[in-house]
């Protein structure tokens, strides 16, 4: 019992941190339902006295928000598929085959994680622009279709599959690609879900690369739309911006609510070897 009382002090600190973490989000949601006037008059009031959907309606008409959502969704899906597929294939390649210089090759793959985007952005921009993929979702997705983080995570997960499963299949003469498709991949389903969810959310939120490639407003993804709205179209209408932000955070939150256990366990394990 003594220990419970001592813990309360720590919990107070931790709850304070929770507040700092969550309260901004609450303000954001609350403001999205306020009119501009109300937001000025009742800044600290969390629950709006006259909640309204006017901001959302304006977004729909003025900014064609649905198109943005579509762009973002398409891009995130393409990137996620690319990263997951290439990641699974490469991880299996490293798991299953032993060839000279394998460690060096693996090291090179992993080293790509440490390359800052500024080192590659100029040439990639030139390539995409030469391929005429500027202002195109494909132009954003293509350079990102492979992520060595995914290869590392999938390889770790594959190494946890008992070797006896794959070896007995090999002794039975089952070809590698079938072992890959019918044994390894189904066993990795939770990892695919969690890694895929993380990739999707990160891609959904991406700002840097889309900013370079997408210049045409109609091709914007949501983060770009938000930034554009704040800096040019009068960042003084905060409730409108907040509404846009709320729309932006809904899909990641939904994914989190559904797959939270997978996502957190995947992240937890990514630090351990």
């Amino acid at each position: 019992m003594l220990s419970e009382r001592r813990h309360i002090g720590w919990h107070v600190l931790l709850l304070l941190i929770c507040l700092c973490v969550i309260v901004p989000v609450l303000f954001m949601i609350s403001n999205s339902f306020k009119t501009l006037q109300e937001s000025y008059h009742s800044i600290l009031q969390l629950i709006p006295s006259h909640p309204t959907l006017s901001n959302y309606r304006t977004l729909d008409k003025q900014i064609n928000i649905l198109r943005m959502v579509g762009n973002t969704f398409l891009m995130a899906t393409l990137v996620t598929l690319g990263k997951v597929l290439t990641g699974l294939l490469a991880a299996y390649g490293f798991l299953n085959f032993h060839f000279k210089g394998k460690r060096v090759v693996y090291f090179l793959f992993v080293a790509t994680i440490f390359v800052p985007f500024t080192t590659v952005m100029i040439p990639n921009y030139l390539v995409i622009s030469k391929m005429n993929l500027l202002n195109n979702v494909l132009g954003v997705a293509l350079p990102q279709m492979c992520d060595a983080t995914g290869i590392m995570l999938f390889l770790k997960a594959m190494e946890r599959v008992p070797k006896s499963l794959t070896e007995s299949a090999k002794v039975d003469g089952i070809p590698d690609r079938r072992i890959f498709c019918n044994i390894i991949v189904p066993l990795l389903k939770p990892n695919i879900i969690s890694v895929g969810a993380i990739f999707f959310i990160n891609s959904w939120n991406e700002y840097v690369w889309p900013t370079l490639i997408l210049k045409d407003k109609s091709s914007f993804t949501l983060p770009l739309a938000l930034q554009n709205y704040i800096s040019s179209e009068g960042g003084t209408n905060f409730p409108l911006a907040m509404a846009l932000a709320v729309i932006m955070i809904v899909p990641p939150l939904l994914i989190y609510i559904v797959f939270q256990r997978y996502i957190l366990s995947s992240i937890s394990n990514s630090g351990l070897k």
């Binding site: 290439t86 085959f97 390539v127 939120n205 937890s268």
Partner: protein, 314 residues
């Protein structure tokens, strides 16, 4: 065991039907699985590194048909140009702030959650992680509203105490602090979970043995837990620098655009500015190559300490 697996290999080899024979087949197969990733990484990362390096020896503006060769001039100006120097200094400030906010702070909290409380660990993980789900644009917008010196809630509350919130966008150093805070809001939960998991991997028996020896908790943490957790800690530390410097790009671009007068810019943002705003491709490439070198050093540190560490624990 060794005999066993060579028997297995022989069985596999003998059942390999009418396919391409022996060594050639063994060289082809892994290639097919690794090819898509290798190709993508090669085309979009390896070659660009080389091309950026190549570009750093020229003056160009991204559009003109000819480039002017200038040798090492761009590299010299990386270290001598006053703006560049200011930006490099800023980068150091960023790194220090990021380490404090995104490494030390989450580490302290993860120690508290792992060793000083009993319940609700899972709940805190779930809650702390939520901002990681949001785009930094959202974070930037949110905090520039909250910290708005005129109409933001923070300023309002301070006014009640007779204090004024300064116009932080006008000061380079204050802007840096705010931008680091925004990044911290997003990254705290993620780093916290990584560190917490590392702490949780310390075997319970060792903690029991220390408890039996009568060792006070803080000493257990300092002498035993932290050294054992070194691998994870260094990994997170390097992640903080590498990811952090790239993350701050977004709030920089959204709020201050590097200003005022490059007061809040860092080496990565300055590279971007040079490349796509000032169209000084050569300078940008030189800056980018220097950044890459720095990150390579960090990569070697990671390998030496993290991989080596793991071999010890085995």
């Amino acid at each position: 065991m060794i005999n066993n697996s060579s028997q297995v290999q022989n069985k596999i080899a003998s059942r390999s039907g009418p396919e391409i024979t022996g060594r050639f087949r063994y060289r082809l197969k892994p290639l097919m699985y690794l090819l898509p990733s290798a190709l993508l990484l090669f085309v979009f990362i390896v070659i660009p590194i080389g091309y950026t390096f190549y570009l750093s020896f020229f003056n160009w503006n991204l559009i003109a048909p000819t480039k002017e060769f200038v040798g090492l001039q761009n590299y010299i100006s990386v270290f001598t140009d006053p703006t560049n120097q200011k930006v490099m200094l800023n980068t150091v400030i960023y790194i220090i702030l990021l380490l404090i906010l995104n490494f030390i702070f989450p580490y302290l909290i993860s120690l508290i959650v792992n060793f000083f409380i009993g319940k609700m660990k899972g709940a805190y993980k779930v809650l702390f992680f939520i901002p990681s789900l949001f785009s930094l644009v959202v974070g930037a917008m949110l905090f520039s509203w909250i910290l708005n010196p005129v109409s933001g809630p923070a300023a309002l509350m301070l006014r009640n105490f007779g204090m004024k919130l300064p116009q932080w966008t006008n000061s380079g150093s204050m802007a840096i602090i705010v931008i680091c805070l925004i990044t911290n809001w997003k990254v705290f939960g993620y780093n916290f979970i990584l560190l917490l998991t590392g702490l949780g991997a310390v075997p319970r028996n060792i903690l029991d043995a220390a408890a039996l020896d009568g060792v006070p908790k803080w000493r257990v943490i300092w002498n035993i837990v932290l050294p054992m957790n070194r691998g994870v800690a260094i990994y997170v530390l390097i992640l903080t620098i590498v990811q952090g410097l790239q993350y701050v790009f977004t709030p920089l671009n959204v709020i201050t655009q590097g200003g005022p007068y490059y007061g809040s810019s860092n080496i990565l943002y300055h590279t971007y500015l040079n490349a796509f705003v000032l169209y000084k491709t050569g300078s940008a490439s030189a800056l980018a190559t220097v950044t890459f070198m720095i990150f390579l050093v960090l990569l070697f540190v990671e390998i030496k300490f993290v991989e080596g560490r793991n071999r010890d624990v085995e």
